[in-house]
Subunit: 82 residues, 2 copies
């Protein structure tokens, strides 16, 4: 069994209104010195695979085919054997 | 300047319909051997702080006061100096 932790975030050039809203909310709670807030997604997947390489490959394909919209999002992941 | 990467995920005992939907979608794309898919949030915050300890403390408070709903969510974060 393997566990993948996938981080999906908006590309730097893409506006992030959700992040901006959270930044304003934090500022209204009196947090100071905030420079930027960016929201992303975190997906944890447990899967069966023959080995680490196969698990890595499957997860990469999942990101490319479904999880990330590569026009506006970047993804990175790590896979661990459980 | 510090950058915090905050991971917010549903507690293990909380049902995750969004994760389940993604699991079904992946299966319909012919990915096999999926055991569990859980969705979470990833927040990246850039902030000014006097030192690492102050940055850590601020980010912890942000999580507790706004970012995470601790009844159903767990959070973890790491802070790096830029």
């Amino acid at each position: 069994m393997f566990e993948a932790e996938i981080k999906i975030s908006l590309k730097k050039t893409v506006a992030d209104p959700q992040g901006l809203t959270i930044k304003h909310a934090l500022e209204s709670l009196d947090f100071k010195g905030l420079n930027e807030v960016r929201m992303g997604k975190l997906v944890r997947i447990r899967l069966e695979a023959q080995d680490q390489a196969q698990a890595q490959d499957e997860v990469k394909q999942m990101c490319e085919k479904l999880l990330a919209n590569q026009i506006i999002e970047d993804f990175s992941f790590k896979v661990e054997q459980l």
